[in-house]
């Protein structure tokens, strides 16, 4: 028999979205019992690595309408405008709450919260805590969450399956990494907040844990993954490791240079206009790739690939240390370059998934009682391209909203029988047990992961050719077959990280499958999805969200309308 624990709300994920949801649930109804399940201790969640900032209107020269319009335009008109409207209204309140909880926001001399410029935003509206914003937000949320006695944590528990019965989700099966046992954590509602899946690609800013688990969990239960073709390449990652150099470097005045020392965003037309380095990420990443293609990339001796330079020298040591000290630490430690004296080598790097579990504005999914928020969800705030610093705020705004709605939902739900859920958990325990140390057909995790990375890099990079996308689709299907032949080496129970890697790999392959299919279907160029074969946007045929459904024999494609409102699509020029 599996161990069973019972709660009211089960939250999967202890990043910004999961923690915010947990606090929201606790505040909405004190005494409610919350399970916070996370595969790492919450303060290790990848929110920790966000550097640049979180957006919300704060200055008197800014308006909610401007923030909304920037976001709509940034999304290449694929964001839902009702969602965006709600988001910009809640954003200042959420960041203020975080301030009340102790977040060490950087300050102006008069004691008000300081804001900085960010790509695609018309004015300074990105709140920051030097350049460790995600770190400070996450730690503030985690520490504050400890004050709420109703939150019971299941740290280092890896959720392997959603327990769904009678069309409603009422718990999860979680592998306790410490003991190697699968437990059933039951609740009347479940909120997925498992973050993104950058590790599907080889060169990414994302940490080891970002394997798209929540997306795959929902996908396998029949929920659509929405807008998966839109993955964001951040213009400035360190060569080799992919470690992020935040956009705040450009917000604070940094330049991008090519091998000729030319500030190409100002001298050539890449569509960013006078915004130059403060253009949106999709455009700047493409500009760098084109510079490299035109032979103006920089070669680093002994390394593969070519790069551009991010020059901060003119900012001076004092400003660098006051505003972006972490960038200096990272450049020194991981690129052997001191930005006070030398330009930093950078290149576009996979960063963020605009797509995710299809939810409505409340975070609700197609399955009753199942919610999703944060990077794992696609509430359609970001459309085809996210504006930097909107996503941390998104985690708060929609984490809170999903939490509040989950509480409302359970007030009206009568629950149901436990039997079927426990049987599912039992089956899942059996499956996990069989996988542990499985002597399969000789396929190895490392090999498969490399193949997947390779397929996705070739098929869904900054530029996507029809042929390479089609190839990616067939290759991913093949990979699924090879996964069945996986052989594992570690039969032990306690803290077996090999089986975790195997489970994560399966999740990533599912995510990859949905990305590849959605990408193939979008025969236009919009936001982060740039197809040389169809270089322009085609609102007539493609002003819609794409949906990919799981199927035992292969994925199924569908689409869904975009909610317009105030702003009709127009050409996206800066």
């Amino acid at each position: 028999m599996v161990d069973v624990t019972r709660h009211d709300v089960v939250i999967v994920g202890g990043g910004a979205a999961g923690l915010r949801a947990a606090i929201a649930v606790s505040e909405a109804r004190p005494g409610i019992s919350i399970a916070l399940v996370s595969k790492v201790y919450p303060m290790r969640s990848h929110t920790v690595s966000a550097e640049g900032g979180a957006a919300a209107v704060a200055r008197s020269d800014d308006t909610l309408e401007m923030h909304a319009y920037d976001t709509v335009k940034g999304s290449d008109f694929l964001g839902d405008q009702d969602v965006i409207q709600y988001f910009v209204e809640e954003a200042p309140k959420e960041l203020t709450r975080l301030e009340h909880w102790g977040c060490p926001w950087s300050r102006n001399d008069d004691g008000t919260v300081a804001t900085r410029a960010f790509g695609g935003m018309t004015t300074k509206r990105t709140w920051f805590a030097t350049d460790k914003v995600g770190f400070h937000m996450l730690h503030t949320l985690f520490q504050t969450s400890m004050k709420y006695g109703d939150i019971e944590r299941y740290d280092e528990h890896f959720v392997t399956k959603l327990l769904v019965d009678g069309g409603a989700c009422r718990g999860v099966a979680a592998l306790d990494m410490r003991t190697g046992q699968v437990k059933a954590v039951l609740g009347k509602a479940v909120i997925l907040a498992t973050g993104g899946g950058g590790k599907v690609w080889p060169f990414t800013t994302n940490g080891n844990i970002k394997t798209g688990d929540g997306m795959a969990l929902a996908y396998r239960e029949g929920i659509a993954l929405k807008d998966m073709e839109f993955v964001q390449y951040h213009p400035t990652g360190l060569p080799g490791t992919g470690i992020l150099i935040t956009e705040a470097t450009r917000g604070e005045g940094g330049y991008l240079l090519n091998s000729e020392g030319e500030r190409f965003l100002t001298t050539r037309d890449y569509g960013v206009g006078t915004k130059a380095e403060l253009g949106p990420r999709d455009m700047i990443s493409r500009a760098i790739m084109q510079e490299i293609a035109a032979g103006r990339g920089i070669k680093i001796p002994g390394k593969i690939g070519e790069y551009a330079h991010l020059d901060l020298r003119h900012l001076g040591e004092e400003k660098i240390m006051a505003r972006i000290p972490f960038v200096r630490e990272l450049s020194r430690t991981y690129a052997n370059v001191d930005p006070v004296h030398e330009p930093i080598p950078i290149r576009p790097v996979l960063h963020y998934m605009m797509g995710g579990v299809d939810t409505d504005i409340d975070g609700a999914t197609e399955i009753d009682g199942l919610y999703a928020a944060g990077e794992t969800a696609c509430v359609s705030l970001n459309g085809a391209n996210r504006l930097g610093s909107n996503s941390l705020t998104e985690c708060l705004v929609f984490g809170a909203r999903a939490g509040a709605h989950a509480v409302q939902y359970i007030a009206g739900s009568s629950g149901g029988e436990e039997g079927p859920l426990l049987r599912q958990a039992e089956d899942e325990a059996g499956r996990v047990e069989a996988l542990r140390g499985q002597q399969g057909g000789g396929e190895k995790i490392t090999k498969l992961r490399e193949s997947m990375n390779d397929i996705m890099e070739r098929g869904t990079g900054v530029y996507r050719e029809q042929a390479s996308m089609a190839k990616a689709n067939t290759e991913i299907a093949e990979l699924k077959g090879r996964y069945e032949q996986l052989s594992l080496d570690d039969p032990s129970k306690v803290f077996n990280t090999e089986i975790i890697a195997a489970l994560e790999l399966r999740n990533m392959i599912d995510v990859a499958e949905s990305v590849a299919l959605a990408a193939l279907h979008r025969k236009e160029s919009r936001g982060a999805h740039a197809c040389p074969d169809f270089p322009t946007r085609n609102d007539g045929e493609y002003l819609h969200h794409s949906l990919v459904y799981y199927g035992p024999t292969g994925p199924r494609f569908d689409k869904k309308d975009v909610t317009l409102g105030v702003w009709e699509p127009e050409e996206r020029k800066y």
Binding site: D176, R178, T179, V494
Partner: protein, 147 residues
């Protein structure tokens, strides 16, 4: 790596964990490696503080007993054992104070009252200066060069 005797309960959780754990080992370099000897020597200088302060008290007491007792106390200090001890104590305490002062700036808050704390180098220089000034002036004065 040679590990000293494990201390079984360091960082023990309040509720025992669900699987058996290996007991913690003390810091790998404790006590003989890394920076530990300096720290332990620093602590051991406590002995110099206690002994020297007691000897000083004995002197004051002797002073209160009159000239003969004071002279006897002073003569006693000429004993080789005392001389050896005092050479060691002098060197030990000087090192002790300098280490203390070197570490001191890092223990100070960003602001002391309304004032921002001076740069570490300035603080250290000030404290070293204080020590050597007191030592020099005190020695000259007490030693009779500045009557």
């Amino acid at each position: 790596m040679t590990h000293a005797v494990p201390r079984v309960d360091a960082m023990k959780p309040s509720k025992p964990g669900p699987t058996r754990t290996a007991p913690p080992r003390p810091p790998d370099k404790f006590p003989g490696g890394g920076r530990y000897p300096a720290y332990l020597a620093f602590g051991a200088c406590g002995a110099f503080l206690m002994i020297s302060a007691s000897l000083l008290t004995r002197g004051i007491w002797a002073l209160g007993n009159g000239e003969a007792a004071w002279d006897a106390y002073r003569a006693g200090l000429g004993h080789p054992a005392y001389l050896v001890y005092h050479v060691a104590a002098f060197l030990g305490l000087t090192w002790f104070v300098l280490r203390l002062f070197r570490l001191f700036p890092a223990t100070q808050p960003y602001r002391i009252g309304p004032l921002k704390r001076p740069p570490d180098a300035v603080l250290v220089a000030g404290l070293y200066g204080l020590f050597f000034t007191v030592l020099a002036v005190g020695t000259l004065f007490l030693g009779g060069a500045m009557l």
